[in-house]
Symmetry: C2
Amino acid sequence: MDGLLYEQLAGEIAESITRGSLKPGARLPSVRTFSGERGVSVATVLAAYGQLERSGLVETRPRSGYYVRRRQCAPEAPRSPRRASGPSRVVSVGDAVAALQASMRDPSVVPLGSAYAAPELLPMQALNGLAASIAREVRDVGATYDAPPGLLTLRRQLARRSLDWGLSLGEDEFLITLGATEAVSLALGAVTKPGDTVAVETPTYFGILQILEHLGLRALEIPSLPGTGIDIDALADALRGGPVRAVVAVPTATNPLGAVMAPEARERLVRLLARHDVPLVEDDVYGDLVFDGTRPRPCKGWDREGRVLLCGATSKTLAPGLRVGWVVAGRYEAAVRRRKYALTLASPTLPSMVVAEYLASGAYDRHLRRFQRAVAAQVERVRDEVALCFPPGTRVSDPRGGFVLWVELPPGTRALEVAERALAQGIAIAPGPMFSARGRFPNALRLSCGMPWSPELERALHAVGEIAARARGG
Amino acid sequence: MDGLLYEQLAGEIAESITRGSLKPGARLPSVRTFSGERGVSVATVLAAYGQLERSGLVETRPRSGYYVRRRQCAPEAPRSPRRASGPSRVVSVGDAVAALQASMRDPSVVPLGSAYAAPELLPMQALNGLAASIAREVRDVGATYDAPPGLLTLRRQLARRSLDWGLSLGEDEFLITLGATEAVSLALGAVTKPGDTVAVETPTYFGILQILEHLGLRALEIPSLPGTGIDIDALADALRGGPVRAVVAVPTATNPLGAVMAPEARERLVRLLARHDVPLVEDDVYGDLVFDGTRPRPCKGWDREGRVLLCGATSKTLAPGLRVGWVVAGRYEAAVRRRKYALTLASPTLPSMVVAEYLASGAYDRHLRRFQRAVAAQVERVRDEVALCFPPGTRVSDPRGGFVLWVELPPGTRALEVAERALAQGIAIAPGPMFSARGRFPNALRLSCGMPWSPELERALHAVGEIAARARGG
C-alpha cells in the first residue's frame, strides 16, 4: 500500500467536500467501486476513507457505507469576546444550577441538562460482574481505610494507561479522588487561598464555577473559542494585568463548546504559565472521548516543572456512579494529598478495585472505540434535529468530543426562561448564564447528547424548539 | 421484684467499691449466694448487678461472674485548663499528622495511631456478600450519578434508625456523604467563611483541626473535660468574648478522652448556642459505640430551630472502606447540599446500597452488641497493660466509648519524640500535640485499641512504654 497514494486520494475527496461538489449526507462510492474506478487497491481506498473519517469529514453508517458528514447548521457557535472580560467576579451560579440538580433526581425528566452517557452505552455488565467477583473473592474489601493516595493496583493501571495519553506517569504520581469533581476541587483548593482570582474559560462548565464559589475564589473569564479552546492571547493579557493565582481549563472537548486544543496551543499555554509561575488545573475528564478516536496528549505532557495538575475520571466513559477519578498534581502533590485527607479522608475501596480490574482486563480500549462512535453519532443526530426544529437563526457548536452541544438561540431569546418552561414540561436543559460567573450568554443553552436517539428525545427537542421560538425578548 | 430493693442493693455495693472495701478486680458474690445471704430473690440480685454493670462499676466475665472493674491507673486524665485558651489560632496540625497518615499505608506498622476496628471485628462477610448480590442482581449499579442528597433506600433506613437514637428524622433530612469526615467538612464549610473562628474541644480529634486548617478557619480551644465533655461554662465565656461562628463537638465518646456528655449537658449546650445563634456541628461518629450498650440521644434531639448539624457514619462500626456517612443539617440543608454538589458531586452508589441492605436485614443490632463488648474488652485490656508497662506517674483515660485511650506520660516526657521513635520501630501512635491547634499536651499520646489482643500488640505496648521511660525532657 502506497502511503502517498492513499493520502492523495483522501486529499482529493476532502477538497470535493470543501468545495461542495460532495454535499453533506452524500454517500461516497463503495470501496470496491472506487477501487475499480481509480485502479488502486481496496486497502488504499480503505486507508483513504479511514483518514477522512478520523478527520471528521465523513462518517460510516453500519451496513451502509461512508457518507459526508452533515453540516446543516451554521458550523460554529458565535465567537466569544476576544479579550478577558473586565474585573474578576465573585461567583454565584445560583438557582438555575439548583433547579438542574434537583431535576437529576427525577427519572421522569428527560435529561438534556447533564453531561453523562446513557447506561446502555456503558459496560455495566462487565463492571458489575467484576464488582460481584471482587466482593465474593476478596476478603475484607473495605475493612480498612484506603488512605490517600489510594489503591495501588488502580494507580498502577493508570500509570500504564498514561502511555496512551502520550505521558509516562509513575504510579506514585496519582492520587485517587471521588471523580473529576473532587480532583478539580482539591487541586484548586491546594493552589489558592480564598479571595484569590482564578482564570477560567468562558463559557465554561458550571461545575467549575461552583467549585470556585464554594472555595471563595474570584473568576476571571477568558474567552473559550469555538474551534480552539482557551484564548491564549487574552490569557496572556490577563496575566500581565494582575495577580491570577491559577488557571482552570478543559483542553480536550471544552465544555460546553467541544473544541480540542491543538498541541502547539497546549505547549504555548504551559510555557506562558511557567513564565508567570501560575499553576494550571487541567480538567481532562473528556480525554478519552474525542470522536475521531485520537487521544490528545494533555498539557501535562509539556510541563517540565510540575505546575500542571492533571485531573481525570472514569465517570464519562465507564460509570458515573463509581465515582473514580484522579489527580496528578506535580509539585503540589503533598498539598493535594493533605487536603484529601482533611476533607474526605479516603475514597471507597470497592469502586477503585472494580476500575483497576476492568482496566487490567484489556476491555477498555474495545469499549472506548464503540463508545466514541456511538456518542459521536448521537451528538450528530441531535445537532441535525436542532437544525430542523429550532427557530431560524439558531447556531450550534460542532464538537470534536464530549457529550454536549452549545446552542445559540436567536438574539433576544431568554434562555433562562426557556429552561424554566422546558423543566415544567419535564425536560432538563442547561441555560447559558450558568456557564459564566457574570451570567453572560443569555440566549444560549447546552444540550446533553448522552441519550440514544428515541421518539421521546425527538419529542423533547421539538418541545424545546417550540418553547425557544416563543421566548423572544420584548 | 421490688424496684426500690434492687436499687438499694446496688447502692450498697457501689458504696463498698467507692470506699475501697471491694477492690478493683474482686469477684462479687455469686447471684445465688448473695440472694441467699440477703434473703432477696435472684431476680432482684440480677437487677442490682445489671445496674452496676451499666454504670461501669462492675463487669461480667463469661462463665465466671461479676467483677469490680479494674482501676489500676489513675482514673482520670489530667484536667484540661478550666477556661478557653486565649485568642483563636490559625490551625496547622503539621508534620506529625503527615507521618501518621503515611504510616497508615504500611501494613507492617502496628496501628496504634488510627481509630478504627480490626477487620475481624467487622461483619465483612455479610457486607461483601451483600455487595456481591447487589452487583449480580441489580442492573446498572453506578450507571448514573446518585445525586445529593443520595440513595433514598439508605436515607429511609437511617430515618428508621434515628428512632433508636431518640430522634425521629425524616428521610429527606439526611444527606449521604463520604464518611463522617466529609459530613463534618461540608457542615463546617456551609456555616462559616474563611477567617472565621470556630470553637473546638481541646484536646480534640486531629481530623477536625485538619478540616479547620483546610477551610481557612481559626480554632478557639475550649477544654474537653475527662468525664463530661466540652466545658460549657468555658464555652459560654468564649461566646460572650467575641464572634464564634460555629462549634464542633463530639458529645458521645469524645475523641481522645472517651467521655459521654450527660443529657442535661447536651440540652444546656444546645440552648446556649441557640441564644447566641451559633450552629453546632455534632460529630456523632461514635454514637453506636458506647460500651454499656446505651445509645445516647444526640444534641440534635434538643434542637428546636435546626441549628445542629448532626454528622454520622458507618466507618467505626461497619466498614471504614465503604465510606458511608451522612449529615442532617437542619436549616443549613440547602447550603450543605449545594456544597456537596460543588466539591464532590455525588457519593458512589454501591457502598450506599450495601449499607442500606445491611441495615434492612436487621443484623446490625446483633452485630453492635457483640462489637461493643469486644471493643470495651480490648480498651480495658490495653488500659491494664499501660498501667503495667508505662513509666510510673502515667495517667490514662477511662473511656465510656470509642476506640482510644488518652495517656498522659510523666511531666517532661516529649510525646512527639516518643511517637517518632516508636514509628522507627514500626509502631504508629498519635502524639498529644496533634490534638490541639496550639500544640498543647506535649507529654500526652493517644493509643487506638481497635486491634484484638495479641503478642504483637503486647510487645508494641511494652516497646512504647520503654521508649516513653527514656524520653524525659532535660
